[in-house]
């Protein structure tokens, strides 16, 4: 089933350049409704105000990390089913294991390309 590109997507990263890159890649993939947040707490606040069909989050941010955001989202009844992709430079096995245990839907290691982002988004909505 094709991914609904009209869904609201939230990109969470503390680097504006990375947000810009992901926004452009998403635009190329057809996603036009993209919001962004600079850390986990800002993202959580936005998620409580608006329904998002997908969250794409970095891991290492201050004050709330993407890992903390993921755990908060999964423990909130209203948000727990939101698809969540981690896009991060945290490339150790323990990070992947922790994210998986916390309920991440997919995990992308930086640097990445458009094809990887597309494949992971497709995989999340194919499940």
């Amino acid at each position: 089933m094709p991914v609904d590109v009209s869904m609201q997507v939230l990109v969470v990263d503390d680097y504006k350049t990375m947000i810009r890159i992901i926004r452009n890649l998403l635009k190329q993939l057809g996603f036009e409704n993209v919001d962004d947040a600079a850390d986990g707490s800002e993202a959580l606040q936005k998620m409580q105000e608006k329904k998002y069909g997908l969250v794409i989050s970095d891991w290492n941010m201050e004050p709330m990390t993407g890992y903390e955001l993921l755990k908060e989202v999964r423990s909130d009844d209203g948000l727990s089913r939101t698809p969540f992709i981690m896009v991060t430079a945290e490339s150790k096995t323990e990070n992947v294991i922790a994210a998986k245990k916390a309920g991440v839907n997919n995990y992308i290691v930086k640097p990445f390309n458009a094809a990887t982002l597309k494949n992971k988004i497709d995989a999340v909505f194919d499940d």
Binding site: N60, E90, S91, K92, I97, K100, K101, Y107
Partner: protein, 237 residues
């Protein structure tokens, strides 16, 4: 320690023994006490002389050690490091961040402009592409300057490393147990709890294929950081 080998004068000791062996009746006279004291002091003369000499030698060694350490601390040029080299290295790193950000923004602006350009007028579009490509080339020149700035920072780190190593060599002994400030301890704890490892070197990082395998329940491939089967099994319990 040399003082431990100092001996009482045997000749004097013998004199004391002889004196004490002399038969004595009644109370001990003051004269006897004086004679005995004189003999005792005489018998310890060589002991004190040896002790003086060994203490002097040890103090001399300690003084030399302190002088050496002071020289090394001076050679460390701590004030130069603190007031000049570290701030300069910080400025270089700030400049690197700024120049890479500027270059990235320039390249992205041009790329975004090309993505949204009107292609109906081929000649105008070609001119736009040429102009954008030139700006991208120019922006890429940051790499040369960045390389030179990084070399200066590495030079500072080597300078500090060289001097700290020499000081550690002079002082000797192993590393003491690290005592973190409350702030440092809290930061370390946060990193540990939130698994903040940061970017890894190419040989330590796992690849996207490794990640995909883990998430799909496959093996870890050839990564040096391969999880145990228990780790993988636990993911799917």
């Amino acid at each position: 320690m040399a003082a431990q080998t100092a001996q009482l004068d045997p000749k004097r000791v013998e004199e004391i023994a002889k004196y004490l062996k002399k038969g004595r009746d009644g109370d001990i006279a003051l004269k006897d006490v004086m004679v005995l004291a004189e003999l005792m002091v005489g018998s310890m003369q060589s002991f004190f002389e040896a002790l003086d000499s060994s203490v002097y030698t040890e103090l001399r060694e300690i003084a030399d050690y302190i002088t050496g350490a002071k020289d090394e601390i001076r050679n460390l040029q701590a004030n130069d490091i603190k007031n000049n080299r570290i701030p300069e290295a910080g400025k270089e790193l700030d400049a690197i961040v700024q120049s890479t950000e500027e270059a990235t923004n320039t390249i992205m602006e041009q790329a975004e402009m090309l993505m949204s350009a009107d292609t109906s007028d081929t000649e105008a579009f070609q001119a736009q592409v040429n102009d954008a490509v030139m700006q991208i080339f120019e922006a890429c020149s940051f790499q040369d300057l960045t390389g030179q700035r990084i070399s200066k920072v590495v030079e500072t780190l080597n300078f500090i490393d060289h001097r700290i190593s020499r000081l550690a060599e002079v002082i000797g002994g192993g590393d003491a147990e690290t005592h973190l400030t409350d702030l440092e301890a809290a930061s370390e704890k946060r990193k540990e709890n939130l698994i903040l490892n940061g970017p890894q070197s190419a040989e330590d990082a796992i690849s996207q294929d490794d990640v995909d395998n883990m998430l799909n329940g496959g093996s870890e491939g050839d990564s040096a950081n391969a999880p145990s089967q228990d780790d993988i099994d636990a993911l799917f319990d």
